[in-house]
Amino acid sequence: MSVITLKKPVRIISSASVVGRHEHAGPLGGLFDFWDADDAFGMDTWEHAEAEMQRMALTFALNKYGADDRAIDAVFAGDLMNQCTSSSYGLLPFDIPYFGLYGACSTAVEGILLASLLIDGGHFSRIASVVSSHNCTAERQYRTPIEYGSLRAQTSQWTVTGAGAVILADGGDGAKVEKLLPGRTFDLGINDPADMGAAMAPAAADTLSRYFRETGTLPRDVGKIVTGDLGFRGYEMMVELMHREGYDVTNNYTDCGMLIYNREKADVHSGGSGCGCSAVVFASHFLRELNEGRLDSMLLIGTGALMSPLTVAQGDSIPAVAHLAKVVR
């Protein structure tokens, strides 16, 4: 698959982010549209709370755009839960054709990529892309009970409680999606579920190095290179892998998982992870940087680890995928 240049840039006309208390306490805390002090969002279970975050994120994005759901042709949504129930239950109140996506933590960019292609193809005018993750639902499904007490590995990451929504359109104002590169699944043999940064870095390096090779550009030709949730550990591995591919990315490369928390204070070890990580950092921070002219262009790379608790228990290594979208001012 080659780099796709859209015939006409697709605009990101609206965005919104909803987060939990730890994310609000982080360095980007003031940029999010809404945060909840007890992460429950007024709901009785964590699963309902995550669904509610998706509903709120899309509602805020629609309100900012000044439209109701009839103006949207389709919604692409995903999360980390079995059968993507946070998305389907959360978006139930909207009268919008629904497509469920699963790309683990790469889903935010997967949604932007697919939405841009469909708008570029001319069949859709406006598509919303919504993703979420919730620390407590993810802990329950993938790790140990929430209140179980144990030491965490230095390479482990903290699943972000957050939902991000973007609305893409064939016209209007806002940052433009210009180029896309779908990722290939990649597995370099990491099988530790507490080391997802290292498991996902090869997929991100594969996609990014292919992008540079195919476009004949270099890291310095773009404003920022941003991966979704490799964290501090994955960042190190990514820099080394890119170096081996012949590219030095140290000047303008960062990762959403490194930006969302205050590393020492929040005790998050290797940083943030989850679908919500790249979604809320992109929707709140980077889109603002682009729209307000502080950033010219960025490569947003959504990184997803595609394992399940079952495959981990059976000793399989962790495959990953990384999709790339070039977003410009």
């Binding site: 179980y148 370099l188 043999g189 090869p202 594969d206 591995m237 892998l241 591919e245």
Partner: protein, 149 residues
């Protein structure tokens, strides 16, 4: 990609950030020691209150379990354990937390499919292999006592 699977696994292994083993050991020693000291103090207290030796020895773990369950329920235990590590895991507190945390976690799924099914999801292996080990040791003990006669 130029990096092979073997090269990458080695690269990832060589660059894995190390756990602060010394700090973890000191914390485990202090927290574990503190819990055991509390247990010893409770034993003295129950005996001073007039309990028989055997009764007092039963009351100590019951009290520690109660405190753990209470701290787990209020979301405090895991915050302590994040630093204490083996210090809270090894004494009876770790086992109590391992039983009660999945029970709390799965309350929303109901008493049977939730709490009933999942309550031993963490502690189950300890119960199974602990029971099995005691049976094996029982047989060894029986054989040894027969031989010693």
């Amino acid at each position: 990609m130029k990096t092979t699977k073997e090269e990458y696994k080695k690269l990832a292994k060589d660059n894995t950030p190390r756990s602060p083993v010394l700090r973890d050991c000191v914390f485990a020693f202090l927290f574990g020691g503190a819990i055991c000291s509390v247990g010893q103090a409770l034993l003295g207290l129950f005996k001073a209150l007039g309990a028989e030796e055997e009764t007092a020895k039963t009351l100590v773990p019951c009290t520690l379990i109660f405190i753990t369950v209470w701290l787990t329920g209020f979301g405090i235990f895991d915050r302590i354990a994040r630093y204490a590590g083996a210090g809270t895991l090894v004494p009876i507190t770790g086992f109590a937390n391992a039983v009660v945390s999945p029970a709390i976690d799965n309350k929303a799924e109901g008493w049977v499919p939730g709490v009933g099914t999942k309550i031993f999801s963490v502690a189950g292996p300890v119960i199974l292999f602990g029971t099995l080990a005691s049976v094996v040791w029982g047989v060894v003990y029986y054989v040894m006592t027969c031989v010693m006669k």
